[in-house]
């Protein structure tokens, strides 16, 4: 089913139940429900392969089409549009089992400014696969923020596969935060690649809290192809219990005055948790400069003792450090 861009679709009776449940799941995770119902907020709500709501606003066109396994979406922000309110994208699979593949294209016009807030809810997941395949193109001077927050149930039966290719034209700015810190992460395989032209700026950040037997793989690659392009690949992971975590932060400096930095912290909680970090810096122009820092280990002793000197016991102190890191 294809839905025209200017249409605000009201849910039918059989759609209302999953919509309410998605909204409820979003609310219980601390989200502001009012924004999902606000007519002045652009949004796309997809449950499994059903588009429950799509709403465009002036300057932002959202087109959606259902597929057998999920949905295709095209989001176009007109040149020069500067949105005060973020665009909300709400995805989820409410049953214990299911597949959701979201294939999306974002086109952000020259000089436009837009924020996206994506919520992904899988509250009952025991065998759920969620694929996000995004192509994001920012025209010169465009500015986009994308925050994706996951709300998972406690069973760890989610496979999350976010893949994005991001193309930044001259002077464009892109910042993204992928956050999976509530519930059981399950199996996460994140793969983001960004290609930057002259003076473009890209910051990719991933925060994941792995528990039980979760497996987390994060790969963030930034190609600094234009003069003065700047990139930051930042990862914060806490791996507890028997969780395994692997982070690849990759930056290629291929232009004069390009600047890039890989910043990775992985904290291990538990003797059977495992973590690795692979920073990969490739300099193809002698005038580029790339740096990296990575820290893997238990929670910093000094941080813990500082909080203990204020009266928190060790467990409370570790929790404060971990929550702050993943905030």
């Amino acid at each position: 089913m294809s839905i025209s861009p200017q249409q605000t679709q009201s849910p039918t009776l059989d759609e209302k139940q999953p919509l309410d449940a998605l909204v409820q799941s979003f609310a219980s995770a601390g989200g502001d429900v009012a924004v999902l119902l606000d007519p002045n907020t652009a949004k796309l709500v997809v449950h499994q392969n059903r588009i429950l709501r799509v709403h465009s606003v002036a300057g932002v066109r959202i087109e959606g089409a259902e597929t057998s396994t999920g949905a295709e979406a095209r989001i176009i922000v007109e040149p020069g549009v500067r949105l005060d309110r973020p665009v909300h994208l709400c995805f989820g699979v409410l049953p214990k089992e299911g597949l959701q593949e979201i294939v999306s294209e974002f086109e952000i016009g020259e000089g436009a400014y837009v924020r996206f807030i994506a919520h992904c809810s899988f509250p009952a997941a025991e065998r759920v696969k969620h694929v996000m395949d995004a192509k994001i193109r920012l025209e010169p001077g465009a500015d986009m923020e994308y925050t994706e927050t996951h709300y998972h149930g406690p069973w760890g039966g989610v496979e999350v596969l976010p893949v994005a290719k991001i193309y930044l034209a001259r002077g464009a700015i892109y910042r993204s935060v992928f956050k999976l810190t509530d519930g059981a992460a399950g199996r996460v395989h994140l793969d983001y690649e960004a290609f930057l032209d002259e003076a473009a700026v890209c910051e990719l950040e991933a925060k994941v809290y792995g528990k039980a037997r979760d497996h987390i793989y994060v790969k963030e690659s930034i190609y600094l192809n234009g003069r003065g392009a700047r990139g930051l690949a930042k990862t914060r992971i806490v791996a507890s219990d028997e969780c395994t975590s692997e982070v690849v932060g990759e930056i290629v400096g291929a232009a004069p005055e390009a600047r890039g930095h890989v910043d990775c912290i992985e904290i291990l909680k538990g003797k059977r948790a495992r973590a690795s970090a692979i920073p990969r810096l490739v300099v193809q122009d002698e005038r580029a400069k790339l740096t990296h820092e990575a820290a893997i280990g238990s929670v910093d002793k000094k941080q813990v003792e500082t909080l203990m000197a204020r009266g928190l016991d060790e467990e409370q102190a570790v929790e404060v450090v971990v929550k702050g890191l993943l905030r």
Partner: protein
Amino acid sequence: MPSSESGAMPAGEAPLLRVEHISLVRGNTVILHDVNLEIERGEIRSILGMNGTGKSTLAAVIMGLSGYEPTGGRIYFEGEDITELPVWERARRGITLAWQEPARFEGLTVEEYLRLSQQFGRNGQLGPAECLSRVGLHPQRYLHRAVDDTLSGGERRRVELAAVLAMHPKLAILDEPDSGIDALSVELIVDVIRTLSRLGSAVLLITHHEEVAAVADRASSLCGGTILKTGDPAAIARFFRNHCQECTHVNKPAADAVAYLG
């Protein structure tokens, strides 16, 4: 020459802190040797000493930090032996430590940090905004800042002092709060120490700045892991100026210094 201190507390009342014959030896290195120290309620005590004489180690031992377990001696707080207690239990009894280079916390705001510090502190504390004002930081500008690398070293040290104020401890151990800061900030630190004292906290002040040490009721000189002398801050500062700053015998008291003290 170990000192033996007897406080001026009323008969029958234990001093707030009593450090008794504390030693710390690592391998063949003596870091603290037979340290004796008593601090009264509300007293400001400064410890003067050159780098490497054991000042920060003494602070860590009193706070109970891991890796600083004494190899001899006992520590009493309000008459109770706390030598075996973990850091957090000592803190809940009213001891805290402000580090010379405080830890930084991603994702934790200054306000949250100060509120955490209040959680197990005493009644009658100052609010977070008031604490920041007392250390010369504008609350509106700093309450929502993160306690992370975006704060300068001086700002972070001031936030640490604010956290101590927020906790309102019975004993605040300040480890070189004046380290690497400008003259104006030194005045401010002296004000904060006085505020702590007015609010009823005792302060153990570790420093090698004479002007900061002068705020104390009593001062002690530490050399070679041993307290050489306790007395009037001006006299101890004079001794420090005349004997310690030219000192070439790190971690070993000089015979002439011992002789000078009689």
